[in-house]
Amino acid sequence: MGSFMAIGFTALSATGGLFTLGLARFMFPNVLAEPPSRFKVGFRESFPAGKVETKFVAQFGVWVINSEFQGQQQIYALKTVCTHLGCTPNWLEAEQKFKCPCHGSGFYKDGINFEGPAPRPLERYAIRLSDDGQLEIDKSKAFHEELGQWAEPESYVSV
């Protein structure tokens, strides 16, 4: 049987501890309002071989590219987020490379990093042919080259 003070202060500390835990949990909302992650970008014919399509960068944050990767002609979608600290690289058509304006990271057309502080290649979004034949990108799934995930069939569409 503890003293009156001991019981009181123990109860106070326990309440304080529970409050702190509740506070931490409170800071993480259960539901987020985000734009839909899936969207269509057109038919395969709109993306001729060698093209880096930049018209979806502002609204969707993605480049749609038709190029050769490891001997295969593919259409794939690269995430427009530099893997260094998150700025948006620019596609330089004349030099055929992505260059980040923040700290100078450079990526080849296939997204592989080759200069600057970026530690890994640009990420790919899932891309597939939807029922009506259009290319559909799903931003909720990302593929990392350095984890071998670019071999997965969801990360590209063969042409």
């Binding site: 993480f28 909302p29 600290l85 998150g86 700025c87």
Partner: protein
């Protein structure tokens, strides 16, 4: 003067000012002890406490700038709305629509100055050895206050919601995702996997807790606004009170032990 005498003998005056004018030593002490604002100060301080070449007064200047920031900050709140729709425009309005038009600039300049004077203050404390025992803990409180000052700058930077703000916070917060254990791209992220379920993901790591979302957006603006205006200033005020208390208890500023 007869009017002065009448006023000072009136009930209204005497209800506010309970003691005579502090014109002699006794009444000066009485006022210092009984006035709400003045009783926070010591009744008297040692002469060396105001030796500028020793103290630099940078701690006092920093506190003064904190008060300037609080006042200008509250005034800015009358015109600024932390939403995607209005944030940027309200900052322009503060410049173009309000009188003088430099309130936002005053807030910004005082913020820059406060970081500089904090650094100068810490430098002075280091040079005069005022961090040595028994004053070590006050130094620790000072370091935490430095962190809070920098966090105030960080959270305030986002509020204008321009390109500079958004990208600076994107880059700054992206570093949080590489934190050990608590960041979803950091080492040891799997340590907090319970029953096969990842506890730390891009929707539940330290970066998410800071931003309130998975990218810098409206939730971040609101969260940073609350942190900047309420949460961090409250924490800073509490620590400042303890910081000053410790100086008093250790014999006053620049006092020997």
């Amino acid at each position: 003067m007869a009017i002065g005498e009448t006023v000072r003998n009136s009930q209204i005056w005497k209800s506010i000012f309970r003691h005579p004018m502090p014109l002699d030593r006794r009444n000066r002490i009485v006022v210092m002890l009984t006035n709400f604002f003045l009783h926070l100060h010591p009744v008297s301080i040692k002469k060396q406490g105001i030796a500028l070449s020793f103290t630099w007064c940078m701690g006092g200047v920093t506190f003064f700038l904190f008060l300037v920031e609080t006042v200008t900050g509250v005034l800015l709140m009358f015109y600024y709305r932390p939403t995607l729709e209005w944030a940027y425009n309200d900052i322009l309005a503060l410049r173009d629509v309000t009188s003088l038009g430099i309130l936002r600039e005053l807030h910004r300049w005082a913020a820059h100055a406060m970081v500089i004077t904090t650094w100068l203050h810490m430098y002075r404390v280091f040079l005069t050895g005022s961090y040595k025992p028994p004053r070590e803990f006050n130094w620790v409180i000072g370091v935490i206050l430095l962190l809070l000052t920098l966090l105030l700058s960080f959270t305030g930077y986002l509020l204008p919601w321009d390109q500079l703000a958004i990208w600076a916070i994107t880059v700054g917060s992206n570093m949080a995702r590489a934190s050990p254990i608590l960041g979803y791209e950091g080492p040891g992220q799997q340590l907090l996997t319970i029953g096969g379920i990842d506890m730390i993901t891009d929707g539940s790591d330290a970066r998410f807790g800071l931003l309130g979302a998975r990218f810098v957006g409206e939730e971040t603006l609101n969260r940073f606004y609350v942190l900047h205006c309420i949460a961090i200033p409250l924490a800073a005020a509490l620590l400042l009170a303890i910081h000053f208390w410790r100086v008093r208890k250790d014999g006053g500023i620049s006092g020997p032990l």
